[in-house]
Symmetry: C2
Subunit: 246 residues, 2 copies
């Protein structure tokens, strides 16, 4: 049966990390909130799970995945669940835990990338917290992007399977969902803060090579060129506000 992915229809957001995994694996899935209401899809179907009083184990927010009777929230938990099923994680417990740990660290970076333009609160518009955003962006550019991407660089450098590899991998020698997520984070940062991100990428060649290499994956390339890939925009996590790029 097809997986059901539930996420806001107009943005990549956190749903994109799950979408990339499903697409890379060629797994059948329904992008529920983007589907037609007449077929029981659309926003109403998503909100029925998020707000339904009869959902025994309600997700706190989207994205969430429905797989038969399972309802799984939290991006990193969804990917941990899908990883072995989609063959996007190594087989050993140690490797799976390490991949998850990397994913959780990337999730922290994603939260910070969002909070750059929303340092005061998600309930307010960007325009109402722009002064604060300018300050937060400076710290994010100077301290946080380098810290996170240098850590990723160290992870890639220390993976013995990357010696001589054309496209480096975060864990072992095969593509994992963490590689897809690092591609996505770098892609988003390049959209949001191109000047700052390019400066950092010059110092983390393995990260840059991963970002360049992942979209050459056949199924991913097809996905990224398709209409299923929502373009980055100023409603999502990664927003192009040039004033924040210093």
């Amino acid at each position: 049966m097809a997986y059901q992915l539930h996420y806001w229809p107009g943005i990549q957001g956190r749903g994109e990390f799950v979408r990339l995994a499903l697409e890379a694996a060629g797994a059948p899935y329904v992008d529920v909130a983007r589907g037609p209401q007449a077929q029981g899809q659309g926003m109403a179907a998503m909100l029925a799970v998020l707000e339904g009083q009869d959902v025994a184990r309600p997700p706190f927010a989207c994205p969430f995945l429905v797989d038969g009777r399972r309802v799984i929230g939290q991006t990193a938990a969804i990917l941990q669940y899908l990883g072995p099923r989609l063959k996007l994680v190594a087989a050993s417990e140690a490797d799976q835990l390490w991949t998850h740990q990397i994913q959780l660290t990337l999730a922290d970076l994603v939260t910070e990338a969002h909070d750059v333009h929303h340092p005061i609160g998600s309930s307010l518009y960007y325009e109402d917290q722009k002064a604060e955003a300018l300050r937060r962006a400076q710290d994010f550019r100077r301290n946080r992007i380098p810290k996170f991407l240098q850590w990723c660089e160290a992870v890639l450098e220390r993976n013995p399977r990357n010696a001589g590899a054309e496209v480096p991998r975060l864990v072992g020698g095969r593509l994992s969902y963490a590689d897809l997520s690092l591609f996505q984070v770098v892609d988003g940062l390049l959209y949001a803060l191109p000047k700052a991100t390019r400066r950092v990428l010059k110092k983390v060649p393995h990260v840059a090579a991963l970002h360049a290499g992942v979209p050459r994956h056949k199924r991913l390339a097809a996905y990224l060129a398709s209409e299923r890939r929502i373009p980055f925009n100023e409603e999502g996590i990664f927003r192009s506000y040039p004033e924040l790029d210093g």
Copy 2:
């Protein structure tokens, strides 16, 4: 062999979530950075892992757990690893995933609780971002604490095993690491923002009952009364700045 927990010595911080699990289970552990340097402990031992060039799979930050050859970072991942080993999670995959999902959601709340006093960046003092903190705290009090704790209340209400239970549990009928974490988050919020938190607790009786009941656990009660429990303070995640309590 004893688990090694590595975390900043002067604060509860994120390390406390791991500490509570180890203490509740009566598991042998060494709180490495708080130990004597003469015995190979102290901050130097922690930094050797965080900064060592020879660590194959370096944690991004503390807390991290060392169990033999395993080095595990990210609080929620540590607890997911320890859960079955300490019998602080149910046996089924579905229950374990749900417990982890709750933990990840609590982790998001912890991040927001921290960012209330550091909305611009961790590299700056609170005093240098106090104006922004006052704004962020207002959003956190009005919108975020209620949203998170009401979700926890729904989780507790919908757990069928809580019918007639004196102390409700988040998952199934037995104490899990997520229960310990919810206790800790509520305890921290009561320290940091007592007025705002008490207002919300009146509307979430199951959460309040869990917070009141967890510390009656025998081993936890002993721990909480001991010197191993670092008091809340203004270096940690939950800080008592009365101006932020509205």
